[in-house]
Amino acid sequence: MTESLDPRIRRADLEASPASSGLKQNEHWETYAIFHQDKRGAAHEFVGIVHAPDPELALVFAKEQFGRRKKTVNLWAVRSSDIYTFQHEDDDMFSTVPDKNYREASGYPVRKRINKYLFDQKEEEASKA
């Protein structure tokens, strides 16, 4: 190996470091889902994961990865395996009747009915007179 141009790497003495024994499964710990909040009271939004041995370090890593650039007031870390979720392949459970206007304010045209009533009243009075 030619001598490194990086003084830090020359000091590290790579030739003397042990041969790789390979990383074992889980050696980079488990994953935590990170939720980012950009102002007080706003919803925390999922932004990605970090690998960490415990929740405290998950927050430390998350601060570096998800809080170093954009405005951040708070982060949540949740162990990925603690998240309960539906399967997306079952998402048809969320579909209901195609027309859901009975759930909307716009589904109730009250004024139309009142106007018709008032019009009919007026007609009736006119015919009496």
Binding site: I9, A12, E27
Partner: protein, 333 residues
């Protein structure tokens, strides 16, 4: 940084293509229709085995390129010429490692653990962008890398961000946003030398000569052979543009910026054919490209040795923190 524009071809391709023919035709048709409609494929959606394999390969190589790419640039952190340049370089290198982390996370959603990916990097099984097997000899190299290599990466990553796999696209969106700072600080360092003293210009010209041929001309990979396989990757929106299209796009945008400063590029054939709008250039030595990617470059051994050193010497810390009851799972997104 550093989209690895060139994705190493798949040696087990024939077997996989046979496997893909056995995919459920109904599911495959629905999958292709979704991509044609511009929908994103998400981790728990059905996908052909070959799609998963190709994406994993691409995202994993991209992740490796980010963390290996931090090494040649890190070389100059201790010797940056001013405090501001040093702050910028530290911030950029930190971003690159962060990009590696985001990309490993995206690759993990396809089912491969980060430990397995790093093992494959250290053993040489998995590749990274060839450009980082060249040394950063002077400060001017840092200016040229920050300007041109990041520019090349942006061309590649903006294309890939329109791909079909949701987690990769979302990682690339954030990455491209940070790259715009990398490119601008690189351009700034480049211009500072270009408008500086004769010695500074000479140093910059020397770095340009070394980085243009062969690394930058290798960056996007050899011109694609048009195969059924390439067409399929484009139809599946895994590959978004041909290597040559990206190279042309890069040259078109950045060569004029270099010439404008009176700097030269070491290719007398480099010119734009005004009639066709196509840039002509001398083909680099593609044999060297394959030699270097297979381990025979100036810095391959050092790059992997540093990575191995970090993993081996950090192990006792990781083990001391290990929580024995934890279990591995594939992240949701």
């Amino acid at each position: 940084m550093y989209g690895n524009a060139y994705i190493e071809p798949d040696s087990e391709l024939a077997a996989k293509m046979a496997a893909s023919r056995e995919e459920d035709p109904e599911k495959l048709a629905e999958f292709e229709a979704r991509i044609a409609r511009g929908e994103k494929i998400e981790p728990d959606d059905w996908m052909p085995a070959e799609y998963r394999r190709q994406l994993l390969r691409m995202i994993e190589q991209h992740a490796h390129s980010e963390i290996i790419g931090a090494l040649p640039e890190g070389t100059w952190i201790t010797r940056a010429p001013t405090l501001r340049r040093k702050l910028a370089l530290i911030a950029k290198v930190q971003d690159e490692v962060g990009h590696g982390h985001l990309l490993y996370s995206a690759a993990e959603t396809l089912g491969k653990s980060r430990e397995a990916m790093i093992n494959d990097l250290i053993s040489g099984k998995s590749k990274y962008s060839n450009i980082f097997n060249y040394p950063a000899k002077t400060w001017a190299d840092i200016a040229v890398i920050g300007f041109l290599v990041d520019a090349g990466a942006i061309v590649n990553q903006l294309a890939n961000a329109k791909g079909s796999y949701g987690p990769y696209c979302r990682a690339l969106e954030r990455i491209c946003y940070e790259e715009s700072f990398h490119l601008k600080q690189g351009y700034d360092a480049f211009v500072a030398l270009a408008v500086g003293t004769p010695v500074q210009r000479e140093m910059l010209q020397d770095a340009l000569n070394r980085w243009w041929f062969p690394p930058m001309m290798h960056f996007f990979g050899p011109p694609d052979t048009i195969s059924v396989h390439t067409e399929k990757l484009m139809r599946w929106k895994v590959k978004m543009a041909s290597n040559e299209e990206m190279r042309q796009d890069f040259i078109e945008q950045y060569v004029p910026k270099i010439w404008e400063l009176g700097m030269t590029l070491p290719d007398p054939a480099l010119r734009k054919d005004e009639a066709t709008g196509v840039w002509e250039y001398t083909q680099p030595d593609w044999d060297e490209f394959f030699r270097v990617i297979n381990g025979d470059g100036l810095c391959n051994k050092e790059r992997l040795a540093v990575r191995r050193y970090a993993e081996e010497n950090g192990r006792w810390v990781r083990e001391a923190l290990m929580n024995p009851i934890q279990k591995r799972m594939v992240p949701y997104a």
